[in-house]
Symmetry: C2
């Protein structure tokens, strides 16, 4: 049994999500023990939503789930790295491929790339 350290952040651990093929960093989520076990058993990235205070299967609304290809943990057993296949080609709810689409340049924010999908169509809002 693999023991992770959920104590440092009151039951949560940060989980970095990286594209398995391109090595692009797609997003960061938080997992509690339940989300971690769900991720292991289903093979789909599952997080704990801090705002909604419940388990959150990434892509449950948009269909853009993350199929886990590889799981790594760090030296201190307090951070998770998921290497995934990103279904639908975009991880971010804004439609961008990666949530890290804001680059800091000369003290201002520059948007990198264009959205892959239109969030209004995907989320029907």
């Amino acid at each position: 049994m693999i023991e992770l350290d959920f104590n440092k952040l009151n039951g949560l651990m940060p989980a970095i999500v990286q594209d398995f093929n391109t090595n692009e960093v797609l997003m960061l989520g938080f997992m509690n023990q339940e989300a971690w076990e769900a991720t292991l058993s289903t093979g789909k990235a599952t997080f704990y939503s801090r705002t909604r205070q419940k388990l959150w299967v990434k892509g449950e609304t948009s269909g853009h789930v993350q199929i886990v290809k590889e799981i790594r943990i760090d030296c201190d057993d307090d951070t998770i790295l998921l290497r995934v296949d990103q279904v639908g080609g975009a991880a971010c709810h804004t439609g961008h491929r990666s949530c890290f689409f804001k680059k800091i340049e000369d003290g201002t924010i520059k948007i990198i790339g264009k959205p892959v999908f239109d969030p209004r169509e995907v989320y029907h809002k």
Copy 2:
């Protein structure tokens, strides 16, 4: 002025460190406002050490500093991605290139790769 959201984790934000050249994820640290400003002004990755409860310039002891080449922030302004040049070739205090050298395979941990340096020599312990 770029406003980041330090409120979700009591004044801290997770900062993912990625190798600028290889896209390998090297480590994850936490920053408070002071560490963030020090990173911006010095160009060296600086974190807040939760165990030592003080600012921590990555590599201050080992010499393996991280030269910041690019900074990105995510859609919610609550996670930082630093893309760096890793001096010394290894980010982890164990001597491994990345802190994520433990891979989960068939329910057990498999160590990936060999240490780049001997921590006993670098830290003189």
